[in-house]
Amino acid sequence: MATRYFGAPVKRTEDLRLVTGRGRYTDDIGAGSAEGLLTLEAAFLRSPHAHARIVDIDVSDAIEIDGVIAIYTYEDLEGAAAEPLPVLIPHPALHAPRTNHPLAKDVVRHVGEAIVMVVATDRYITEDAVAAIGVSYEFLPPVIGLTAARAAHHLVHPDVPDNVSAHLVQESGDARAAIAAAPHVLEYTLEIERSCSMPLEGKAVRARYDVDDQSLRVYSSTQTSTSVRAAIAAKLGMQLGKVEVIAPDVGGGFGVKIMHPWPEEIMVPFAARQLQRPVKWTEDRREHFISSSHERAQQHEVRVGFDDAGRVLGLDVTFWHDNGAFTPYGIICPIVTSTQLLGPYKPGAYRVEFSSVYTNTVIVTPYRGAGRPQGVFVMERTMDRIAETLGMDRTAVRSANFIQPDEFPYDHGLIFQDGRPLIYDSGNYPDQLTMLKEMIGWDSFDALQAAAAVDGRRLGIGIGCYVEGTGPGPYEGAHIQVQTDGTVDVAIGLTSQGQGHQTVFAQIVADELGVPFEKIRVVTGDTRRFGHAVGTFASRAAVMSGSAVALAARKTRAKALEVAADTLECSADDLQIEDGVVSMKGNPSVSIPLGQVAVLSNPLRYAFDEAAKAATQFARPTDPSVPPVPAGREPGLEGKDYYSPPRSTFASGMHAAIVEIDDETSEIRIEKYCVVHDCGNLINPMIVEGQVHGGVAQGIGGALYEIMAYDEHGQLQNASFMDFLMPYVTEIPQLELGHQQTPSPLNPLGIKGAGEAGVIPVAAVIASAVENALGMRISAMPLNPSLLHGLRAAAAATAVES
């Protein structure tokens, strides 16, 4: 029996390259070669002010610097490149979309907005030149933070009078009436700060223009090479076929690299075409902080009505989302918050209203979890408050509100971010909770907490539940070709940023096609190999490309069986493929290697090698009355297919943590952290667990440390790794994981996405645990030790006064 790869913890094929220094990230392309020496480098002068009118730009000193080749300002742009960048995902509720230009025109609206591009023979020289450019500004009042944006005393865009870019209301049932009639009502405010993806590789773009055929080849550290390609073609007025975009090895994305086109993705190719030399730009870390994107900042006002059993009868949430200075990526994040807030629960009635507002800060686009951590924070804090009010166990309140296993598919009566109904496909939340309570020791925790208290130790336990819409459409595709030596080339348009796509998609092909895993080579994110794709975001790669790969493999397999059946003079139904060999069922001595089938699929005229020799018209007798390639069949053993889902799949999970708070320093130490998650069928449990580990670590960063410390002038005070605190190994506990698998009925492999799950409930879990440890309310995250120390001191002072 052949090995089954789907479901096995197969080691990654990527790793041999990546552990030996042979990965190829965008900044590596051409290094140390003649092309590397010919490559020009770009750097950008970026606004030092949050809001200002550009009065004058003086480049006269800069252009004199030895090695400077060109300097571009907005005035040098023409055609579509001089227009504002696109609103990628328009939405009827986004009534006042605004986007920037590739280089600032007249007014800058956040610190870091690109104003001038310098191209020189060397990066050091570009930076010298940037420093030599003089810009004079007329200052305008900046709008920083949600409170200032809502007050609208000053405006980010003069023609958006209330700073509101979008306003959306969704309602299922009559929530306000249900709350008014409920036995218990609570009302409170909850806040989350800004954070960001912060991949260790920043953005990077490299472009080379071929003068002979007037084509561009662009490498970009992107999560969507096909869309960057389309954007470059549109902005530079080129035919799509004249632009190739490749996402090579990408050093992490976590959402920030799904945004496109970045101004640099237009400007670098623009310069490469104009100068007819390769040009590249590699973002430095400060640039990444001030000119990429952030997420998370929201203020929420919650009203909830519930009964004596803890059941939510009505939930009414109004929130404000800080979208930064522009809205190129639309309003995906607040839409996700507004819908995914519901988690595994079914409130009697639900009303949600949000306003997305402009501020003079870096733009906001999805960061791993994309709006869900905020929504889950709101819902899980609500569950905890209901429990507190009724004196119930926190898990009992959750149980009272769960959607039950026999209620799937469950329709919430809302519209999700993909424009489709919010219908959960499958799940089993009560079982998940049972698993989690067992793992964390929920029922015995009170005794543990009491025993610790005797020793003066403050322990607390917290829980957080989430449901995550994963694998949204519209589609992904795959192409598979069997080579004459039996190797199998697989190409997908979707990109990889370290999730092991070369491995997991090979696992699927190995099973579907019946070939050894080692024979399969997967290429991702290269428009030369696959031109139609959407991108890597929203935990969609496994669901979407995995399904497409399976369908393409099935097509390839069917063709292989047909061709082999012709040769073996039998019916395709009598054949099987195992370990790369097609054989007769029940009579394995009648067989033909798959590589040989690939040879036979292509009746060549020229015998240029042994494989081709076997395939020429002279290799075996043919029927002269029929064409060598039968009607309806193409030469070559290959298959291409696409997968387009009816709607998203819904993964789910629950986390629980035990924390200890140091009584003197307020240090929050995570003693134990347990995760139960359900992403349907697992392609590779090792890789899924790795995704959960990484997600939880980012979640812990978001819960305890990560903020974007803007001052009132719009200066980001912590734009370095010394000041923006991300967890090191010392901050991350050992995780305990439990898998639950409720297959999705929506795709051929029964899978749901797993990439973002780990991060989503962490802030809610930590807040719940700290609250439990200290008996004080936690309403805003992140919560670092000094903040907690202040909260405790304030609470103690209040207690003394009263």
Partner: protein
């Protein structure tokens, strides 16, 4: 303003990289990380923050881990530099160095960008302490940032690498519940 720029004076810099003497011209202000990557073409060393915090650019200078973004190329003149490319024979799994092999076996990398800095750091770490405890393994990597893995599997890789380096080939696997990597 042009006079404010250093005159572009370039000096020949010779360093022994992964056992091979290499010479290239570099301005005095050029960092060792840029020199190794762009002048010598050894792009395995990665630059994550350019201010010495993330550890991605860590190389060994005379065996000691050093952040190459904080070292000027000219000051490495005459020294031995080991980059990730020098940690093993890169053609097959069996010829990987012990730390490289442990990283693969333990699924201790995802995007791979911070990985070279971890590999060099741990190589120096287990040379100094060949039998680290779990706490010592944590200490060994406590100055390197990884944004993908959550570190758990990297700690496991440190312990596994130490065993491999000592000649104990008992395979390591990913940390935590469930999966142990299957070789294919």
């Amino acid at each position: 303003m042009t006079e404010s720029r250093p005159a572009g004076r370039r000096l020949p810099v010779t360093v022994t990289v992964n056992g091979v003497a290499r010479t290239a011209d570099a301005e005095p202000r050029r960092t060792l990380s840029d020199f190794v990557r762009h002048d010598l073409g050894l792009t395995g060393t990665h630059v994550g923050c350019e201010h010495g915090v993330c550890g991605a650019c860590t190389v060994l200078i005379d065996g000691d881990p050093v952040r190459s973004c904080l070292v000027l190329a000219v000051s490495a003149q005459g020294h031995d530099v080991t980059t990730v490319e020098g940690l093993g024979q890169p053609d097959t799994v069996t010829e990987l160095g012990p730390v490289q092999r442990a990283f693969r076996d333990c699924h201790a990398l995802q995007c791979g960008f911070c990985t070279p800095g971890f590999l060099t750091t741990i190589t120096a770490g287990i040379a100094e302490n060949p039998t680290p405890t779990r706490d010592e393994a944590v200490d060994m990597i406590a100055g390197n940032l990884c944004r993908c893995t959550g570190y758990q599997n990297i700690v496991e890789a440190v312990l596994t690498a130490a065993r491999y380096a000592a000649g104990d080939d008992t395979p390591g696997g990913p940390a935590g519940h469930g999966a142990a990597g299957v070789e294919h």
